[in-house]
């Protein structure tokens, strides 16, 4: 195959092409590593991560997110850079990536580098280019900031391992939630082929933890953990399948994060669904809410959704939805309930649950105190008592609470709230309250 990358592009043109090609990658977090300056180079890492800007779509810009090249030998149907597409192609040199990263980092534009790539010639060849870039950046430029790099499935395991010692986070894209979807839309990739490097990174991280326990100064392998991402809405999986996949990734592959990316139709292809209403953003939002419940709130996927009810409620967030289906467990007494029970109350988050547990050791907690601690009382009040009393006289009854919860407008992050206020009464479900799978 001939290489279509023109030689004489300026740095500006390359950056435009290759950041535009990388924008569909979701992960732009810089959290998970705490590292101070070595005293020789430039840069450190902050555990909480830092957002440096926000783009016009409201997503954070934390890392310089670029592809090394958008030239690719694969022809995945959902991808803008697939081999059969006629798009402008470009490729950086390691030197250029280093210059850009250092120039941006010194001006505090970015927290580090996010380096992904299309597949040039072969997976190993591409992985080696990524490795060279990272090596140059870490050792020649003394860069101490954050680096997120993609592990390329099919590349030589030794290359992946060597790269892992230079990066903070590694990720392998799962692309689509199920193996069938992958067969349909990305015929040259297979599920096992993707999971192999993921398993390799996981095993190496575990070994590395033991090494670090023995020798504090042992080199650190992928200290911020690994993540993955999958496209939502390109294939007909339901939410239950997606959440179950995410759960098993957290349990079996010890992932730090799973990212969901609402499918954006960039290619005209008969195998791809038409999305007249734009990307399924609400669905993506509900999945992220559920993801948080899995990771921080002690929920299991089977509690949130079931085979009979495989999709999320459009009107209520997953936690409210769960609570309404389990009213027998409520109300909860704030001054007595244990931490894990408090976490399950709608309107109480991790921070406020921690505050409640600390504060009640020193005396009773009442409703005004809860408000000051950051509990969202307009949601929580139907599910809690303080010293045996509810805030108002309420009925613990599903219809009553649902009606009241729906009156409280949920703040959605994408302008879906506040646009439609009143509408004609209709007997039909023309607002699409029940989401068809694949929407």
């Amino acid at each position: 195959m001939q290489v279509r990358v023109p030689e004489n592009l300026s740095l500006m043109e390359k950056l435009n092409i290759l950041s535009d090609a990388a924008k569909y990658d979701v992960a732009c977090t810089s959290s998970g590593t705490e590292r101070s300056n070595t005293g020789k180079g430039v840069g450190n890492c902050v555990d909480a991560g830092i957002c440096h800007s926000f783009s016009a779509d409201g997503r954070c810009i934390s890392l310089l997110k670029i592809l090394f090249t958008n030239e690719c030998i694969y022809n995945c149907r959902y991808c803008l850079n697939r081999a059969s597409n006629d798009v402008p192609r470009a490729a950086f040199t390691p030197q250029e990536v280093c210059d850009l990263t250092m120039g941006f980092y010194r001006r505090n534009y970015i927290e580090g580098l996010f380096l992904s790539s299309g597949i040039l010639k072969s997976p190993s060849y591409t992985m080696e280019l990524l490795y060279q870039t990272l090596y140059k950046l870490r050792h020649e430029y003394g860069f101490g900031g954050y680096i997120h790099v993609k592990a390329i499935p099919g590349a030589d395991p030794r290359l992946i391992e060597a790269t892992g010692y230079l990066a903070d986070r590694m990720s392998v894209n799962l692309e689509l939630p199920t193996a069938e979807g992958l067969r349909k839309l990305a015929p040259s990739k297979s599920r096992t082929w993707i999971l192999t490097p993921m398993r390799q990174v996981q095993n190496r991280m575990e070994e590395n933890r033991n090494e670090l326990a023995l020798y504090r100064s042992a080199p650190r392998f992928v200290p911020a953990g690994q993540s993955t991402q999958m496209i939502i809405g390109a294939t007909p999986e339901n939410d239950y399948q997606i959440v179950s996949v995410a759960e098993s990734l957290y349990q079996k592959f010890a992932l730090k994060r799973v990212f969901y990316s609402a499918f954006v139709r960039v290619n005209e292809d008969s195998m791809l669904p038409a999305l007249p209403g734009g990307p399924p953003l609400l669905r993506e939002h509900r999945l992220y809410q559920a993801d948080w419940l899995l990771r921080y709130y002690g929920f299991r996927a089977s509690e949130l959704l079931t085979e009979d009810k495989p999709n999320f409620n459009v009107l209520l967030d997953p936690k409210c939805d769960w609570a309404l289906r389990h009213l027998e467990q409520f109300p909860v007494e704030i001054n007595r309930a244990d931490y894990m029970t408090l976490l399950r109350v709608p309107g109480i988050g991790v921070r406020s649950a921690q505050r409640i547990v600390k504060a009640r050791r020193l005396g009773n907690v009442d409703f005004p105190d809860l408000k000051r601690m950051g509990v969202v009382l307009k949601r929580a009040l139907y599910f809690i008592t303080c010293r045996g009393r509810t805030m108002y006289p309420i009925r613990i009854e599903e219809d009553y609470i649902t009606r009241n919860l729906l009156n409280v407008k949920e703040r959605l992050p994408f302008g879906m709230d506040g646009q439609v206020t009143y509408r004609q009464l209709s007997l039909f479900d023309d607002q699409n309250f029940s989401m068809p799978p694949g929407a």
């Binding site: 740095l11 500006m12 950056l15 435009n16 950041s19 535009d20 990388a22 924008k23 569909y24 101070s36 300056n37 005293g39 020789k40 430039v42 840069g43 450190n44 902050v46 909480a48 830092i50 957002c51 440096h52 800007s53 926000f54 783009s55 016009a56 779509d57 409201g58 997503r59 954070c60 810009i61 934390s62 997110k65 850009l100 120039g103 941006f104 010194r106 001006r107 505090n108 534009y109 927290e111 609402a262 954006v264 734009g278 990307p279 953003l281 505050r355 600390k358 504060a359 050791r361 020193l362 005396g363 009773n364 907690v365 009442d366 105190d369 000051r372 601690m373 992050p413 994408f414 302008g415």
Partner: protein
């Protein structure tokens, strides 16, 4: 009621706490205030507090020893805010903490209005400082110095500078808080200092280095091309990055110079 009128700074508030306690009028008979233009209260005796670094240091040491590291941090952060009631709230929190068996528990006593206010202000100031860790934009000057202007709502420059002192240890950099007229100056490989902006020679700040313009253009075009048009959502963007920050940020500025 006696009102102790202190200077609007951490040292001022801490001196106020020292004087109020030292006056032996009784904790219920005293109150701390910072803002000067406030309406004067009737039937009150006003006392001006003269900021004294030694007294402030003593109070700060006591807070750290008796109320613990977390309370110490909370007081420093809360004092950076602009809330009118913060001086009194900090005073009450210190009084409460010193009367508790274990002073370190005072930060958990969120049922108390004053403690809860201090802890909320702490988060506000921390959040502002954390945002600025990302939103500070340096420009490279002709002599290689990195220069940045910020206009934070709270006095977060002292909370911000240690972060950059670690990150850019090998660089000469200056962060200028225009609203308060102070600068954090960090010479290469040494400690950062806080200085009055008017006392420094600022003539050399006008000249940008050769490649500065190129990098600014690259960054602006990166910010444009990274956004997905199908997901466009300026309201969400504005919620996360309010307009008040954008004046000092390269990617939102139309003209070239600060």
């Amino acid at each position: 009621m006696t009102i102790f009128w202190c200077e609007d700074s951490l040292d001022g508030i801490l001196t106020g706490i020292y004087d109020a306690w030292d006056s032996r009028l009784g904790h219920n008979q005293v109150k701390l205030k910072t803002d000067a233009q406030d309406t004067l209260e009737l039937f009150c005796d006003y006392r001006q507090v003269k900021t004294d670094a030694v007294k402030a240091e003593k109070v700060l040491r006591t807070i750290r020893d008796r109320l613990g590291e977390e309370a110490f941090e909370a007081v420093c952060y809360a004092a950076a805010c602009t809330d009118g009631g913060r001086a009194d709230a900090i005073y009450r929190m210190v009084v409460l903490g010193l009367h508790m068996k274990d002073g370190r528990q005072v930060v958990n006593c969120l049922q108390n209005r004053d403690v809860s206010l201090v802890m909320r202000l702490r988060i506000k100031a921390w959040h502002e400082a954390h945002r600025y860790m990302g939103f500070v934009r340096f420009e490279e000057l002709e002599n290689g110095v990195l220069y940045s202007v910020i206009e934070p709502a709270y006095a977060v420059l002292p909370l911000l500078a240690p972060h950059f002192a670690d990150r850019f240890q090998q660089e000469n950099w200056v962060i200028h808080d225009k609203r308060r007229g102070v600068m954090a100056v960090h010479p290469k490989d040494s400690l950062w200092v806080l200085a009055d902006a008017e006392e420094l020679n600022t003539d050399y700040l006008g000249h940008r280095s050769e490649r500065e313009k190129e990098f600014q253009e690259l960054w602006k075009s990166f910010c444009k091309s990274i956004a997905i048009e199908e997901r466009r959502n300026p309201r969400c963007q504005q919620g996360l990055l309010p307009l008040r920050f954008r004046g000092c940020m390269t990617e939102f500025r139309k003209d070239q110079s600060i």
